[in-house]
Symmetry: none
Subunit: 398 residues, 2 copies
């Protein structure tokens, strides 16, 4: 028996007036999801805990069985892993943006005009040497990851990114009064200062100025975190695992858990076939589908309905799979179109497969699933429940 | 007000094809259980935690309010208590089998032909003296319990029972690199070696060989555990408690909790009357009914339906009781006939009594109870809920 967990990012929503008081998931036509809900057992999930607004990262960690309250100190490590940096336990990692600042270090553009190619800039930054610290860098367009490796470091350092334009870059500051945090802040300040010196007159940026494009002359850092020691998915569960995701951070979580990370097919049905093909080789596949979340962030219930109906079509590919295997479909958090960001509402879940205790729920929706046979569970409960259905659980006692 | 908790061992199941997709509990005719569900409040219970495959032992500990994650290190202590050995906190206890081995210590029969009387063999083994350790023994047919009492011992010792025939007896080995574990393993090895010397030519076994019966010439040990310091049921809850169970381990748990243990009447209705009579004297009675679990282990849904219908008949005896007292009926874990062993699915529960908030559930079944007013709770939640209904709970705050 294999297991496929499809996480529809930000799928869940709140009632939307323009949809007659329905949520996008309730308003969308979803014959396949409804069929899976009928054949399966449903419920509602607190991704982390009731009312907690989970990020996609903390929620996916919980879904994979890693307690985010233990392993998550910041987004940096997962982003860095997603960009392909080989991380070691204890590394300090940041998410960064190539940004545009003026001569007074006032942020003019947090994404440097969404610059597409930063490979030469990254190469130039690799020349920076810091005392007692190994530095690693990777970038994908304007996004970048920065890693410090060495003894006596701390992730308790504030963002240098002011998260808005028109204000000055923040100095790197320790968030606690320890030698490690003070040292890390000093080193980060030194790094960003020297990065600015290298970037401001770099040929790439001189060229951008000539073309009237904002120069990528500053590296804004945020989301400092310490790389956790995640027990590998394989050693933890005795199953081989893979992940299909377009988002760097989800790919990073899977990488840190030692899972295979596959490049997602663009088109949904192709991606579903890709998942089934991957499951010929691995025992467990996590698939993240990003688009519903983007519709939520864009305050667009109509777009969200559209995305959901496309996801539903894709689900037809799994109807055969659930005869002998287990499929989980859920959302990682709620992204209400009214709010345009994550909220702490519960999310719907369905588990379909040969031995589930079906319930009376015949539609996959936020409110329908609240009456389901799983009741209200937490993200961290999912793997134990799934492992039990897969018959991979040891008895506790006799 | 009194409380009766009836735990139907392994009652819960998964949908069974030969029963038209119903579980045995759903397929069985259970007018009395359904009546109790209608008059009571229902719900689903994770005996230990979602997806965790509870043993009967860990589940009963949780139901009685003792956290198995704190007090349970192995089955040995509960088995030994169930066999009547007076245990002290810190004792190391094993479950043992009298087994048959050949001259190369290859296990031929793990139960020595299910030998019925081992009292003379146990008496002979009492002569074994170990340095610095007091040894206790008890047996019931081929089953036996072994206890080491003394300083500097550990339960982190592997099974000498290979759990199969045709292979050699395992040497006693420490499971961790501590002086205590190494010493305990050495002492256990010495004990089993000397036991073999005594048993192999014992008159009882010479007699068995003459009759062509397999000799009970070896003591296989397993399930080492350290005796926990269970606060007595009475001091914990301010109630006197008793237990009716046929299984040694459940009797052992009750004994370790300081509860009175009654010899179960064989016939169900007589056993129900016995429970009501006992409740004239004590405040709380735990009754374990073993047979549904056995049907699950035997992969027999038909037998399970039969057992459930017999249990239902017995429930008629309690319809009067719940006018003024509280009755809990539940399963301690799921034993699906398809799996033939425990799984981690939730189990149904009903609580009937004068002041429960009834719900809309009118049948006692796995899926019906998922819609009940208790929602999804854990085994450890049961005693606090019951104590509150019994009005025996202190206010937390003002």
């Amino acid at each position: 028996m294999k297991a496929l967990v499809v996480v529809c990012d930000g799928l869940a929503d709140r009632p939307v007036k323009s949809l007659g008081g329905k949520t996008p998931l309730e308003a969308a036509s979803t014959p396949n999801l409804d069929r899976l809900a009928s054949r399966g057992i449903t419920g509602i999930v607190d991704p982390v805990a009731p009312g907690i607004r989970a990020g996609s990262d903390t929620s996916h960690l919980a879904i994979l069985g890693y307690d985010p309250c233990e392993v998550y100190t910041g987004r940096g490590p997962f982003e860095a892993a997603g960009m392909g940096i080989e991380l070691h336990r204890g590394d300090i990692a940041w998410r960064c943006n190539f940004a545009t600042v003026d001569e007074n270090l006032i942020v003019m553009d947090r994404r440097a005009g969404r610059i597409e190619d930063t490979s030469r800039l990254i190469e130039a930054l690799r020349d920076i040497r810091l005392p007692g610290v190994e530095v690693e860098l990777a970038s994908l367009a304007y996004r970048c990851a920065l890693v410090f490796r060495g003894e006596g470091l701390s992730h308790r350092v504030g963002d240098t990114d002011p998260h808005t334009t028109g204000v000055k870059v923040h100095p790197a500051e320790p968030l606690e009064d320890t030698p490690e945090a003070r040292r890390t802040a000093r080193l980060l300040e030194e790094f960003t200062t020297r990065a600015y010196e290298i970037l401001k007159d770099h040929e790439v940026n001189r060229e951008r100025r000539r073309k009237n494009l904002p120069p990528a002359n500053y590296l804004l850092t945020r989301g400092a975190g310490v790389v956790p020691d995640l027990e590998s998915f394989h050693s933890r569960y005795g199953m081989t695992g893979a992940c299909i995701a377009t988002t760097a951070i989800i790919r990073g979580i899977a990488r840190l858990a030692g899972m295979r990370v596959l490049r997602a097919e663009r088109e949904y049905t192709a991606r579903a076939k890709q998942a089934l093909a991957a499951l010929e080789e691995v025992d467990f596949l996590l698939m993240n589908i990003k688009e519903a979340d983007e519709a939520g962030h864009d305050h667009s219930p109509e777009k969200k309905v559209e995305v959901i109906e496309a996801i539903d079509e894709m689900m037809a590919e799994f109807l055969e799979f659930v005869r002998d295997n287990y499929l989980v479909v859920m959302s990682d958090h709620t992204t209400p179109c009214s709010v345009g960001d994550h909220t702490g509402d519960v999310v719907p879940v369905l588990i379909a497969g040969p031995e589930v205790r079906t319930d009376t729920v015949v539609a996959f929706g936020e409110r329908a699933c609240a009456g389901g046979g799983l009741g209200r569970i937490r993200g961290l409960d999912l793997m134990p429940i799934l492992l039990d259905l897969l018959n991979k659980t040891e008895k506790f006692g006799a």
